[in-house]
């Protein structure tokens, strides 16, 4: 045991009692975290409320101090201390590595549409932004800040006020973590209202119908069905002709359509009235115009669940000029006055990689005779115009970042429309590996030592 000369404080910090208390406290705390995650089906919530809470940090601090103290307490170390020192020192390094990762690391997702590129990695943290525009063309950012509603949610009693310049303010009144969106397009008289169109695409296997509403003049609204895109706008701005494209435009004599088939490089033009349909000549798909509103706006209603699903999003209730609106995450809300329009976005914090990745191709193998994916991979083009294949367990390491194949998104007909990569920058990685190595070595040496020891103790006669 410790020598008498050592201070009582050190001995208290190094005590095994403290160790057992800390171990049990940690076990209880993280067990609680798994229950929170299970209750709300929400891993991020468990992280915010438990794993990254002040209690957790406190437990880790005491744990580290305890480990360090016990190492100091046993000084000077002897040969028999080897496994003990390695294991305990390894845990300290592991914890330190985790700290470095959480402070300086980056862990987010990058969505690459098929034949699309992106430079933004989305992080799990939320961000609230407001833009203002007077003419609907140029925008000025008024607010751009990170928010953490799990820790401090606004309430009607304690709202968050955001100044919008002049006498205008926006009040955040309430936060709901699990809202289910119901989107509706209605006719509108507002001077900011835009045209909207409802179309359907149908063959024997697929039937989709959706609304396209133009957000600003000169910009087309686009619906992406994977190998086919539908655009709606007030003038045709053909982008790249590498997919099957449908352009729709409202004209006096009806809805003008231009179909472009990439297979045979053919275009087809004509007009459709509401209710009429045309054969696209592509996989037997029929295009039909279901409704057309020259002036429309989008109404968002939410129902609230008490746990997370893949379709829920968190929503904030905002008050603007005495009227209340729900603003959903991953969703832009527009508020109009007579002079200006405000774009409110409650989205994810994002990180600019500083370079773009382009998704040339997404490949997927399925198990024979089923729709189940057996494996998938993304072929991306790096800024140097070099191709690289990212597949499950074969990440891309590039400029300090690591890109992992995480999942993919499917269109309504089951074809993949986008690849989801997990992007990671982890300066604490080597520390964690070093710590793991030391702990494992410690355990192995402990095992060898114990075997020698017990053989020595038991001797040849060991009958009970």
């Amino acid at each position: 045991m410790a020598a008498q000369s050592k201070s009582p404080i050190l001995r208290a910090l190094a005590s095994l009692k403290l160790a057992v208390v800390v171990i049990i406290a940690m076990a209880l705390l993280i067990a609680w975290g798994t229950i929170v995650e299970s209750r709300y089906q929400d891993a991020w919530r468990a992280k915010k409320e438990v794993y990254q809470s002040i209690w957790m940090y406190l437990v880790f601090v005491v744990f580290t101090v305890n480990l360090a103290a016990v190492l100091v307490d046993r000084w000077p170390w002897k040969r028999r201390h080897l496994s003990f020192v390695l294991a305990h020192f390894g845990i300290i390094i592991l914890i330190f590595g985790a700290l470095v990762t959480s402070q300086f690391g980056l862990d987010g997702t990058l969505r690459l549409a098929v034949l699309g590129s992106s430079r933004y990695v989305y992080l799990p943290e939320s961000r609230f932004t407001i833009w203002r525009s007077v003419d609907g063309q140029k925008f000025e950012a008024l607010v751009d800040q990170e928010v953490d509603f799990y820790r401090s949610a606004p309430s009607p009693e304690d709202p968050i006020r955001l100044p919008l310049g002049g006498s205008e303010t926006l009040e955040l009144l309430e936060w709901q973590p699990y809202g289910l969106l119901d989107r509706k397009i209605v006719r509108s008289q507002s001077s900011w209202a835009r045209p909207a169109i409802q179309f359907s695409l149908k063959n024997n296997f697929v039937q989709v119908s959706d609304w396209l509403i133009q957000t600003t003049t000169n910009r087309m609204a686009t619906y992406d069905l994977g190998p086919l895109r539908v655009h709606f706008g007030d003038e045709f701005i053909p982008t790249y002709f590498d997919k099957n494209e449908i352009y729709l435009q409202a004209q006096e004599e009806g809805i003008k359509y231009v179909l472009y088939r990439s297979k045979d490089n053919k275009t087809l033009e004509g007009h459709l009235r509401v209710g009429e349909a045309v054969q696209t000549g592509w996989m037997g798909l029929e295009l039909r115009i279901l409704q057309y509103f020259p002036k429309a706006e989008e109404i968002h209603n939410y129902t609230f669940l008490n746990y997370k699903t893949d379709l829920t999003q968190s929503v904030v209730k905002v008050r603007f000029r005495g009227k209340d609106y729900w603003v959903g995450q991953h969703d832009v809300t527009k508020l109009y006055t007579d002079q200006e329009v405000y774009f409110i976005s409650y989205g994810q914090k994002r990180f600019d990689l500083g370079f773009e990745l382009f998704l040339k191709e997404f490949r997927m193998d399925r198990y024979p005779g089923t729709q189940r994916a057996a494996s998938y991979q993304s072929i991306v083009e790096l800024p140097e115009k070099v191709d690289h294949v990212i597949s499950m367990n074969e990440p891309l390491k590039y400029r300090g970042f690591t890109f992992y194949q995480a999942s993919f998104q499917q269109g309504p007909d089951g074809t993949p429309v986008a690849s989801i990569l997990s992007v990671n920058y982890d300066p604490g990685r080597w520390l964690k590996y070093l710590g793991s190595l030391l702990v494992s070595l410690g355990v192995i040496i402990l095992f060898i030592d114990r075997r020698k020891q017990s053989r020595a103790q038991l001797g040849p006669k060991n009958q009970p």
Binding site: A27, Y307, Y367, A374, Y376, P395, D426
Partner: protein, 542 residues
């Protein structure tokens, strides 16, 4: 026309007579047996028709035989002559709530197609289920049972329509089902079905068996080659039940341990070794077969982990027994092994024994195999320490003083197996981190499965540390080894079946929670009872 009709009627009649009057025996000498070896593509995997039928029958009827008749005969007549089955109760529905909602007699367990197919409440229920699935909501037990019923009806319908039976390989990924056969292929296939019907009336006719075998060869020659070796091995695996035999030998080994105590004849110890070794060889043989059939390390679902833990418990029992020669360690190991194997055999609905294709993230990955096998083998050591703890408490309760030596030996063995467990669990968790880092770029993500493994590790580390400074004497160690095993149950079973959240969703299933809870509470009660007795004794003696 009338000739055709009478032929149909004749077939109908023959089947009817055969199905409801004659017992049909099992063996390979049965005339219809060659049909079992017909390869079919189902759920992403090529398997023998035998396995396919067992899985279909298991899903719909809840068993792999029907009134003593083998699955392949029953399932074949389902799609061959569905009319015969219209009024037969073959759809298993267990939950009372579902039977109540559908107004079905609650005491019945099996229902006919007619009772279900046109049931006015069903479309509505299936619609609700579909909405819940579209909204990606978690299904409660009631809707899980609705989902099973939906699946039963779907599979039956697809089977009867012929779409489910993919019999002819055109390429590796393309198989023709019964409806896609062209005229020549169809006429070849009809020969098989005709011979099958004949085989039912004369089940012992070797001639019909040979004809059937030739007809199957003839039909198969129209498609591409399929590995026959694997098909044969899988039928053999299904017939032989290597794990059941292993369990029997483990039970025998445990009985010998009991005999040694009752008769006080230590020489019988070789009996434990012999039975345990035979059991182990069968166990490894079964495992090897499964690895060969699935082409991967078989530790990817609940069933396979239970079988793997059984193996580990016996092996660790042998190692510790080999060192200490106390006779009870290996005996206890075989008790654990037998318990796990019997468990895995009893509850196919919870512990699904079928071989399923893997999720993409789990495929062909060295680290996966290493980390899962390492962690799960630690469960085996902890299971052994749990059993030893129970055994130790038993001797404590009988006579603490009289069995002092034995109790000390058990305590040491228990401590050793906790050490073994920790020295597998800690590196296993770290390897899991390495794997996660390698696959997802995250060393640690507080996923419930990894978190509960860590909680279990912390629990056992607390025990080892407490023992090191003498807080836990032998009673304390025995009691806490029983108690701490609940952490393993949570990490192993609870995360998947109780918490049901997190990244490790590919291992999820449902059910069995009442039995596991009973197991847990029984042992908690046992520990508390032992503790009370121990307390009152030490009060008396002091």
């Amino acid at each position: 026309m009338w000739l055709y009709l009478s032929a149909v009627l004749y077939r109908f009649f023959v089947l009817f007579v055969v199905l409801w009057s004659m017992p049909i025996s099992w063996a390979d000498t049965v005339a219809s047996a060659p049909l079992r070896f017909l390869p079919v593509l189902d759920a992403g995997r090529v398997k023998p028709y035998d396995t396919f039928s067992k899985e279909v029958l298991q899903l719909i009827y809840g068993k792999t035989t029907y009134e003593g008749k083998p699955a392949y005969q029953i399932v074949t007549t389902w799609w061959l002559q569905p009319d015969l089955w219209k009024d037969k109760a073959i759809f298993e529905i267990k939950p009372f709530e579902l039977k109540n909602t559908l107004g079905l007699p609650p005491q019945d367990r099996y229902f006919t197609l007619e009772q279900l197919i046109a049931h006015p409440r069903l479309p509505d229920l299936f619609q609700q289920l579909q909405e819940m699935r579209e909204k990606k909501m978690k299904l409660d037990p009631f809707f899980q049972s609705v989902q099973r019923l939906e699946q039963q009806l779907f599979v039956y319908r697809e089977l009867v329509s012929g779409n489910l039976v993919n019999v002819l390989p055109v390429s590796d990924s393309q198989w023709k089902n019964l409806n896609q056969l062209n005229d020549e292929e169809r006429s070849d296939f009809l020969k098989i079905t005709d011979l099958f019907i004949q085989s039912l009336t004369s089940p012992n006719s070797l001639e019909i068996r040979d004809q059937l075998e030739r007809a199957i060869q003839q039909f198969r020659s129209r498609g591409i080659q399929v590995d026959d070796q694997k098909i044969k091995a899988e039928v053999h695996y299904g017939d032989f039940h290597p794990f059941r035999w292993a369990a029997i030998f483990y039970v025998l080994a445990s009985l010998v341990m009991g005999l040694i105590w009752i008769l006080k004849k230590n020489r019988l110890e070789y009996g434990i070794w012999i039975f345990a070794l035979v059991g182990l060889i069968l166990h490894i043989y079964g495992f090897g077969l499964r690895v060969y059939l699935s082409g991967r390390a078989p530790v990817t679902n609940m069933y396979e982990t239970v079988v793997w833990v059984a193996l580990g418990a016996v092996v660790f029992g042998m190692i510790l027994e080999g060192i200490y020669r106390w006779r009870f360690i290996l005996g206890t190991g075989t008790v654990v092994g037998a318990f796990c194997l019997i468990l895995s055999d009893l509850a196919p609905a919870v512990l699904d024994p079928s071989i399923q294709p893997l999720e993409p993230v789990l495929r062909s990955n060295f680290w996966l195999i290493v980390h899962v096998t390492t962690i799960v083998i630690s469960y085996a050591a902890f299971f052994l320490s749990f059993a030893l703890g129970n055994l130790g408490l038993f001797w404590y309760l009988r006579d603490e003083k009289g069995y002092q030596e034995r109790i000390n030996a058990i305590t040491l063995a228990c401590y050793r197996s906790i050490q073994i467990g920790v020295s597998f669990l800690a590196p296993g968790i770290i390897l899991g981190g390495v794997w996660a880092d390698y696959s997802w770029g995250r060393f640690w993500d507080w996923d419930p499965k990894e978190t509960w493994s860590l909680i279990a590790l912390l629990g056992y580390l607390a025990i080892l540390h407490a023992r090191l400074v003498g807080w836990l004497k032998s009673f304390g160690l025995l009691a806490s080894s029983v108690f701490a095993f609940n952490l393993i149950i949570m990490a192993w079973y609870g995360v998947n079946f109780v918490l049901g959240a997190g990244l490790h969703t590919y291992g999820f299933g449902a059910g069995g929670i009442e039995y596991v809870s009973a197991f847990v509470f029984l042992h908690l009660g046992y520990v508390i009872y032992a503790l009370l007795v121990y307390r009152s004794r030490s009060r008396v003696s002091s």
